[in-house]
Amino acid sequence: MATESFTYADFTGWLAEHKLMGARCQSCGALYAEARPMCPDCFSDDMAWEQLSGHGKLAAFTTVYIAPTAMIEAGYGRENPYVTGIVALDEGPSISGQVVGVDVKDARQVAVGMPLQATFLTRGEGDAQRTFLAFEPAD
């Protein structure tokens, strides 16, 4: 029986507290960097939250010059491109996040395999305020 909720609202609630929380299957041990109410590997409903370190390596990335509306509203676009990528976390699973703290115009600053750590970005005001997972070069 599932006793706890594992929704995206929970996941973003953790992000607002600057915590990256994963869901671990208590039956087969599979770990997900998403809120998953059931284990897609073994079908178990016995999941538990587990805090992730936020440390990992960049597995794939891109620099976006043609931005979606939400990123245009955040100030990005052709003249101010941003890096986003997929990070393979030290604990195993991977997750998507913007990569900040790098000079996007200098291709040498970003590379597959570079060590990163999680950081949290807050955008919007009042009720529209949201916290986003991002990554920056590891200390």
Binding site: Y65, P68, T84
Partner: protein, 420 residues
């Protein structure tokens, strides 16, 4: 894997498409009528539309592109086919490849003898940022899109992983774009019915006309590396690595194989069908290959009893140039990590070892997302029947394949065809 067979044989006996491009004056239904009309004309022995029993229409997102939902019955009405059942099929950019699969299953099951498979999309009404947003809904809106991913961004990330793993360079990607435009230049239905060389000429002429400095490029590669004329969209993908925003429609007529000769002098049998789903990009073990494509193609090869070496031409889902390179590996044409070498060496050129995207592909022909899967079949139909005109390949095409991907590869559908 259990070997699956169709309950009975299914053949394509008609295929047609609208012009692909940007058409402010045409709605989706107008494009579909164009495709239907051409399909009807392609049926050797004629088609009485009243013989069609059902419609399966691939459509990604008329809801967002045109604020029109419930598109299938409208298409049925505009080609005079109400009250027949009309079903809309949505699997992102694989929508009409999957609609084809639904049509095949409907005929193979014995429920219907004659069905119409269509694909439709009208994308050019929206400004680019909103097209970007709409396409992004084919990714994971909770876990991927908040990171700022766009569709070029997803495939840019796949390219970054591929280049890091295999040592490929952006030049290999550019070779795919140049090759597909060479093919598209010979396809009058293509949105970009012009080679990269032709585009360079047009850009020079335009600069001269405006009194601007006329750019001098020594060759096509120099143009492809020009940051002004081929700007970066999502590193390492530039404008000419990306399929365009397209309006278009396609229509195919499927019948049970025992009826095929009463419609066609040269029916094309569908002998293999496979489809698979996958997790979102971060949850996959591999970023340099699309697992759903490997899975779907294995199903299709098994059902057809053919190998990748038997396939004479393939239309693959080159929404971005990197996607074509990865597809040629996933389909077993080249070993993992060798697809980019094959592209550089011209092995996928129209008369190369393994011609890929002789139509011009999504890159040059255009990519009206929900129509692309069905439109791929039109090239196979023409090449197998020797009707591809100036772009007809130099060999007999007895076996062909189509590969249609949804999203980042969360869906892939593959079909294999034999000429009977």
């Amino acid at each position: 894997m259990t070997q699956r067979k169709l309950g009975r044989g299914v053949a394509v006996v008609g295929a047609g498409m609208s012009q692909f491009g940007a058409f402010p004056q045409k709605a989706t239904r107008d494009l579909f009528v164009e495709a239907f009309r051409e399909m009807r004309g392609s049926v050797d022995k004629g088609l009485d539309p009243r013989d069609i029993e059902a419609l399966f229409i691939g459509n990604y997102s008329s809801d967002l592109f045109e604020h029109q939902g419930h598109t299938a019955p409208i298409m049925a009405d505009w080609v005079g086919l109400t009250p027949r059942p009309a079903v809309r099929v949505e699997d992102a950019c694989a929508s009409s490849g999957v609609a084809l699969r639904q049509g095949i299953m409907a005929v193979a099951s014995g429920l219907h003898d004659v069905v119409l498979v269509g694909g439709i999309e009208k994308m050019s009404n929206l400004p680019t940022a909103e097209v970007t947003d709409t396409l992004a809904t084919a990714g994971d809106v909770l876990y991927e899109i908040p990171a700022g991913f766009t569709f070029p961004g997803f495939y840019g990330a796949i390219a970054s992983a591929y280049m890091a793993r295999y040592g490929a360079t952006p030049e290999a990607l550019m070779r795919v774009g140049i090759k597909n435009h060479e093919n598209g230049a010979l396809n009058s239905k293509a949105q970009f019915n012009v080679s990269i060389g032709g585009i360079m000429q047009a850009r020079r002429a335009s600069a001269a006309k405006k009194g601007r400095p006329v750019p001098q490029w020594s060759d096509e590669m120099t143009f492809m590396k020009d940051d002004v004329y081929n700007p970066m969209i999502a590193w390492p993908l530039r404008l000419f690595d990306c399929s365009p925003i397209t309006d278009g429609a396609a229509a195919l007529l499927l019948v049970s194989e025992d009826l095929a000769s009463s419609f066609s002098n040269m029916p094309i049998a569908i002998v293999g069908a496979g489809q698979a789903s996958d997790r979102a990009l971060p949850d996959r073990t591999e970023l340099t290959s699309i697992g759903a494509a490997r899975n779907a193609s294995q199903q299709a090869y098994q059902m057809a009893g053919v190998t990748p070496q038997d396939v004479k031409i393939a239309e693959v889902h080159d929404c971005f140039t990197i996607a074509e390179i990865v597809a040629t590996e996933d389909l077993g044409f080249f070993e993992p990590g060798q697809g980019f070498v094959a592209a550089e060496e011209g092995l996928t050129a129209r008369n190369g070892l393994r011609p890929v995207n002789t139509s011009g592909g999504l890159k040059s022909k255009g990519h009206p997302v929900g129509a692309s899967g069905a439109a791929q079949v039109i090239e196979v139909w023409k090449q197998m029947r020797g009707e591809a005109g100036a772009r007809q390949v130099d060999r007999d095409v007895d076996v062909a394949l189509t590969h249609n991907v949804g999203g980042t590869g969360q869906t892939c559908v593959v079909h294999i065809y034999e000429r009977r």
